[in-house]
């Protein structure tokens, strides 16, 4: 069956199964948007360089139909991140949360289905916050995910608690017998004075293809601290479009690092809405592409309130036929005086067929702000290359050292030691050179 028809069928099913849900109207509006707007094409300004429509020309099993159960805990062992024995592990199979495969170690952490969360103490939070990302991402894919929002998950971090064990999120597609279309949906609420670290990774089991259409919304309250690390190193036939929408509704601190190493088409939307005075956010990205991988990072920083500070640095190394897109927007709204917002994107092309499209944008409506943006695209420095070789270092090792040196100021922002080492290891493997 054609994927769009399948989606429609599944939508009808899920609507009749859910009965009277508080999320029904949100889902119905979203589905309406999806049918009107459709899948974005390259005519859409925000999708100019990223052709996603091809992904929908394949046949998929859509998430509810392949429920968790076929995946065992041992299937997950290769997926688990280092340090998992000391982590909370949240496992999603084909987009759906799998409690039986997950491990919660921290009592300050609550995980519920969104449907369930609308029935208790979190009702108002969910109803207010779910779907906020559609204010920034108005395309059909965000709407498509929202049309099935009730199947998603609500994660709550208790007020005043430091979650000592990091939260590892595994997005697993079980593509051993069919192509998988997965739509994970998460709303994360980090309460006042809470601190939490998330690390999310993606894996497809089996040889078939997968497409993950994800939306994660994060609400950060007063004096909370959130770190969010995303590692994308799935197989080369797997695509994903993901939106991470972070609202800093209280004065808070957010750090994110997005590392993209493999995949077919990978699109990351990262929105940071700085809605409280004196908030701070740092977001970093590293993409290191080979083969035909396309990675597209679209970021938005919206400074709504005064005295906020944001730093953004995305760096990329593109080899083979790889394509990278960076589109960074900083908005400074009229009331957001004394904003400090910095943005930079730096790229190195390692092959003649590598491509990068980079577009930094600033829109400032306030008059007392410090903002900067810029981008560079270049090749490995010939002088540096000769310098290393003149010291006896082979071409391959010299290239590895230079690429590694270029990436290191992103890696050093990955604060948890096991995760940083893990990413460093992945990069060394890619460079086929061990630095010891």
């Amino acid at each position: 069956m054609n994927t769009i028809d399948l989606i429609k069928e599944k939508y009808q099913q899920s609507q009749s199964n859910n009965g009277s849900s508080l999320l029904t109207s949100l889902e119905q509006d979203a589905f309406q948007t999806f049918t009107t707007v459709g899948i974005p094409t390259v005519k859409h300004e925000e999708w100019k360089y990223t052709r996603i429509s091809g992904v929908f020309n394949k046949e998929y099993a859509f998430n509810p139909e392949s429920l968790p159960g076929n995946v065992t805990a041992s299937d997950l062992d290769p997926v688990r991140l280092p340090g998992h024995a000391e982590a909370n592990e949240l496992v999603f199979i084909n987009g759906l949360y799998a409690p039986s495969l997950s491990t919660l170690r921290s009592s300050s952490l609550t995980v519920l289905s969104l449907e369930e969360a609308t029935k208790g103490e979190f009702r108002d939070t969910v109803l207010q916050q779910l779907g906020q990302s559609s204010r920034y991402i108005k395309d059909g894919l965000n709407a498509l995910n929202t049309a099935f929002a009730a199947e998603g998950v609500f994660i709550h971090v208790k007020k005043g608690k430091i979650v000592e064990h990091p939260v590892y999120i595994y997005q697993v597609s079980d593509a051993r017998s069919a192509n998988i279309l997965a739509q994970p949906r998460t709303l994360i609420h980090v309460s006042e004075n809470a601190q939490v670290i998330f690390a999310e990774t993606y894996a497809t089991l089996g040889l078939q293809e997968s497409f993950t259409n994800q939306v994660t919304e994060v609400v950060v309250e007063q004096a909370a601290v959130v770190e969010y690390y995303k590692i994308q190193n799935d197989t080369a036939v797997c695509s994903q479009v993901g939106t991470t929408h972070i609202r800093q509704v209280g004065k808070s601190l957010v750090n994110t690092v997005t590392v993209s190493l493999n995949g077919a088409v990978v699109r990351n939307n990262l929105n940071i809405a700085m809605e409280a005075e004196h908030s701070e956010s740092h977001f970093y990205g590293l993409y290191f592409l080979k083969g035909d991988t396309l990675v597209d990072n679209h970021t938005v920083v919206d400074n709504v309130k005064p005295h906020c500070e944001s730093n953004e640095l995305y760096k990329g190394v593109i080899d083979d036929n790889g394509t990278a897109i960076f589109n960074g927007k900083i908005f400074v709204q009229k009331d957001a005086q004394k904003t400090n917002a910095f943005q930079s994107n730096k790229n190195i092309l390692l092959s003649d067929n590598a491509t990068v499209n980079t577009k930094p944008q600033l829109e400032i409506f306030a008059d007392d702000v410090k903002c900067s943006h810029g981008c560079t695209v270049g090749q490995l420095d010939e002088e540096a290359f000769f310098y290393l070789r003149s010291r006896g270092i082979s071409e391959k090792a010299a290239k590895s050292l230079l690429v590694h040196a270029f990436a290191i100021d992103i890696l050093e922002h990955i604060k948890p030691e096991p995760i940083r080492q893990y990413v460093d290891q992945l990069i060394s493997e890619r460079l086929e050179f061990n630095f010891e």
């Binding site: 000769f386 310098y387 070789r389 003149s390 010291r391 082979s394 100021d409």
Partner: protein
């Protein structure tokens, strides 16, 4: 050790070296002097294997091997070291890591086992004292934010670690004050043995007060136009390069 015969080299179609002949034996120190644009740095770069230059004629033989077939890293493996006039800054790569990689890559080239961490640290300590360089400098990114003197000292430290047969010091004195020159020269002198050789490339005579050459050659318009002992350097210092130019023009 090094034998250069009728070396011609171009960059972007422009001939810079126009028939260089030079012989260096183990244990010797040679100085190449000459006015700006005479081809001094080109000669250093061509010996080290820089690929921007095209060698159109002649040959370079090192320890009995024809160097023309060797890549820069292979030349380093054979024992050639070039101290750069402008050492490169590489943010994100620590000096220690860089040198460790270089030492082990050269060992690999020579079919030796890599040095383990203990051996390596021991050697580092020893050479650090020798060239008077501080540990804190070595844990920083390579040359990043180093002063001119620190960069040159780092070059000499690398030379100490790599123990080359032939060290080419390209304008090592440029941009240094007299104290820095003394420290750098001191390092070079300590590294001299009867088995290695030094080629000093310099515009001024002052470095030669600290590293005493056995031979001085004057390079002008891509040729060695005069050779002599260290007295030639004093003569140049006194009279300037004009007298050489005049001699050459007369001869021509």
């Amino acid at each position: 050790m090094l034998s250069i015969r009728n070396l011609h080299a171009n960059i972007d179609g422009k001939e810079i070296l126009r028939g260089i002949n030079l012989d260096i034996k183990a244990g010797e120190v040679h100085a190449i002097m000459g006015p700006n644009g005479s081809g001094k740095s080109t000669l250093s770069a061509v010996i080290a294997g820089r690929e921007d230059y095209e060698v159109t004629e002649g040959e370079i033989e090192f320890m009995g091997k024809n160097l023309m077939d060797f890549s820069p890293e292979e030349r380093a493996g054979e024992g050639i070291f070039l101290s750069f006039q402008y050492p490169i800054e590489i943010p994100g790569l620590t000096t220690t890591n860089f040198i460790k990689t270089a030492v082990n890559e050269i060992r690999k080239y020579r079919g030796q086992e890599p040095m383990d961490a203990v051996q390596f640290l021991k050697k580092m300590k020893e050479k650090m004292t020798l060239v008077n360089i501080d540990q804190s400098l070595l844990s920083r990114s390579l040359n990043e934010g180093f002063s001119g003197g620190e960069k040159k000292r780092n070059e000499i430290f690398q030379m100490a670690m790599l123990e080359p047969r032939l060290a080419i010091l390209d304008e090592t004195d440029s941009g240094l004050d007299i104290d820095a020159i003394r420290i750098v020269a001191n390092g070079v002198n300590k590294l001299r043995t009867k088995d290695n050789a030094v080629l000093l490339v310099t515009h001024y005579q002052r470095l030669l007060d600290y590293i005493i050459p056995d031979f001085v050659h004057v390079l002008y318009k891509g040729r060695i136009v005069k050779s002599g002992t260290k007295e030639l350097a004093y003569e140049l210092e006194e009279k300037g390069y004009d007298f050489i130019k005049a001699e050459v023009e007369q001869g021509a």
